[in-house]
Symmetry: C2
């Protein structure tokens, strides 16, 4: 073995040296390893336990025999099908490794150290992670009545000279939303020089008319969509961006051209073609939202209206003597009981737990465990 030398290793950039060792989320698999046992039910990652279309399952299983081949670097067939489905030209569509991957490239395209980026306090942590990872400075606006506030976001962009504004519609973690015409109107106040990243990961769950009508060539907006949620393919890592052709061209300068896996392309294509399954999922999720509202009400708690596949349940805004929210204790008690849910990170949203719309039997289990978890949490909270 060669002699070890006293060199300290790679010369990292100053930015990387200064970055904290942060992950946007601790994943459920990691939490299970830490707990030494698996969760009994997985309602914390807004995954779709109704699953993908059986046609997508079959397409992926069939595609495995060809997994020795790289995937198509242009995701051509999927883009063609999306183009038909959305009535958006192919040149305005880019398929990438989920919204997380696409957001990473987008931030890299635009953000250098010191550039400002506006988002809501408590919105998607992975977007913030990418911004911070490129040295961007986050400017945050408060939620208003548990909704993101486009007017405030765009005003903050004007004031700070931000290059990028993030808005999720429907919102995660609260599930709230704006209707399309309201967003179209708000867009007129987006300052010149600021681009809106409109994260529509949950859009198919929302009422018709929630998606604003925006010309794909409108240079003010980059939309992000995914097959992870309504289409049930989170583990496949595939999503897409809708943006002006010259913006898609900029993505092509940076993206990992052969990064989208072959099975995901096959699965997404088949899933897109089974809109009947999608409708069924959307219906099941709507029922689950109602069920979660009823479960909450049974415990004297209020579920927020949601247009996504999860529901925020308000556990009350009073902190205990140790400064912790009741929601925090409820979440911990549920997790201890094998029920994986999450909670918003930032006040005042952190009075809620966020519960994914699972299958009926998942929600049965949640309901069964919520009662004792709440009792434990309330006892601690009063102590």
């Amino acid at each position: 073995m060669p002699d070890k030398r006293p060199t300290p290793g790679p010369r990292f950039t100053a930015l990387v040296q200064a970055l904290p060792a942060a992950v946007p989320f601790v994943g459920p698999d990691t939490m299970e390893r830490q707990a030494g046992k698996p969760f009994r039910v997985r309602l914390g990652a807004n995954e779709n336990s109704f699953g993908p279309s059986p046609l997508a399952v079959r397409a992926m299983q069939d595609a495995v025999s060809g997994v020795w081949k790289y995937g198509d670097g242009e995701s051509h067939d999927l883009r063609a099908a999306l183009s038909d489905h959305l009535d958006v030209p192919m040149e305005n569509l880019l398929v990438g490794e989920g919204i997380d991957g696409l957001l990473g490239v987008l931030v890299r395209m635009m953000i250098e150290p010191g550039d400002r980026v506006v988002t809501s306090a408590g919105a998607y942590p992975t977007f913030n992670y990418h911004v911070t990872g490129h040295g961007g400075e986050l400017v945050t606006c408060a939620y208003v009545e548990d909704r993101e506030d486009p007017a405030a976001l765009f005003a903050a962009a004007r004031e700070s000279g931000a290059k990028l504004v993030y808005l999720a519609n429907p919102d995660n973690p609260m599930g709230t939303w704006h209707d399309g015409p309201a967003l179209e109107a708000a867009l007129n106040d987006l300052p010149a020089g600021a681009t809106l990243v409109l994260d529509e990961a949950y859009i198919e769950f929302a009422p018709k008319g929630t998606a604003p009508r925006i010309d794909p060539e409108d240079g003010r907006v980059i939309r992000m969509r995914t097959f992870s949620k309504t289409y049930g393919l989170a583990g496949a890592r595939i999503g897409y961006a809708i943006a002006p052709a010259h913006v898609i061209a900029a993505f092509h300068k940076l993206r990992n051209h052969f990064g989208v896996n072959r099975l995901a392309q096959a699965g997404a294509l088949a899933a897109l073609k089974d809109q009947a399954h999608l409708d069924w999922v959307v219906d099941q999720v709507a029922r689950a939202r109602d069920r979660l509202a009823a479960i909450a009400a049974d415990e004297g708690l209020r579920a927020l209206p949601s247009a996504a596949n999860f529901v925020a349940i308000d556990c009350g805004g009073e902190r205990g003597s140790d400064g912790k929210m009741l929601a925090h204790r409820v979440l911990a008690a549920l997790n201890r009981r094998g029920v994986f849910v999450r909670m918003p990170f930032v006040a005042p949203q952190d009075r809620c737990i966020r519960v994914t719309c699972g299958a009926p039997e998942d929600l049965d289990l949640f309901a069964r465990e919520l009662t004792p978890a709440l009792a434990e949490a309330r006892a601690e909270h009063g102590a």
Copy 2:
């Protein structure tokens, strides 16, 4: 629809604005669409047409039912298995979205505009793409007798103050290699402040002793390995890095934590456990190398010795009156005949075509088409 405004769209970084619209490769699927017909045989992307272990196929098919869940962000089980297999601590292992994805993060960790990076003229274009994409300046060294030249690379790193040196062993596109002890000795001349990226994508095809023995905590080296080649999972997008723990920690600051897809993790884990299949693939590839050498010899051409799953066939170094190499014409004639092969990009390696070690029937077809393709190419070349 809101009024369109005359804004030009996103404010890209100066670097992105200056980057050319380049892709590292035009993929075979794109070439097929351009030609309007599929290739009859796919011998251009160094894919493994012997395919993955049947156990990996089954594991991936079984995993499809769970694709609604995100993958484990730590790829824990795969890293544990790799740790056992390689006798490398888990903290020195990082699983990522193939070597391409890992190289992207690595370059981002280290390279800022103006930083120097040393590689061989004609080595892996995707690495160069990442370097250029971060504003790095490439310094290149010539191949010597169709091999990368570690001494020259390390001397160039010293002279240029490079942060990063790229070396593939075995090399792509030539298939040549250095033995492990030679590299271990050469490493002593790697200058302080330069880090070697040792790309071992093809290492399992190479003779025993080709992989240098390097302590995983040796700060001079970051090794890259993949499941795309010997393990036959190119379409799944999964590979790994071996590096000091503090370097892995730096990757964690930037990487897309939930980017490795769930099916790939399942497939790679099963593939790793089927070393008998790997041995069979390696044996088949060795036979294919011999067969390709014989096919070349039958045409009066020489195949270079290779330690990878492809063979460079020397078509001669004389340019035609139009400046083109015979290899270029042979490649075009083969592609027209539905045989997908590639060629090195840079002189003097561009006197060769590069042919992947396919299954016997693939090579039968290659042999059948090479004769007329060569005849066409030679006629053009002399014209």
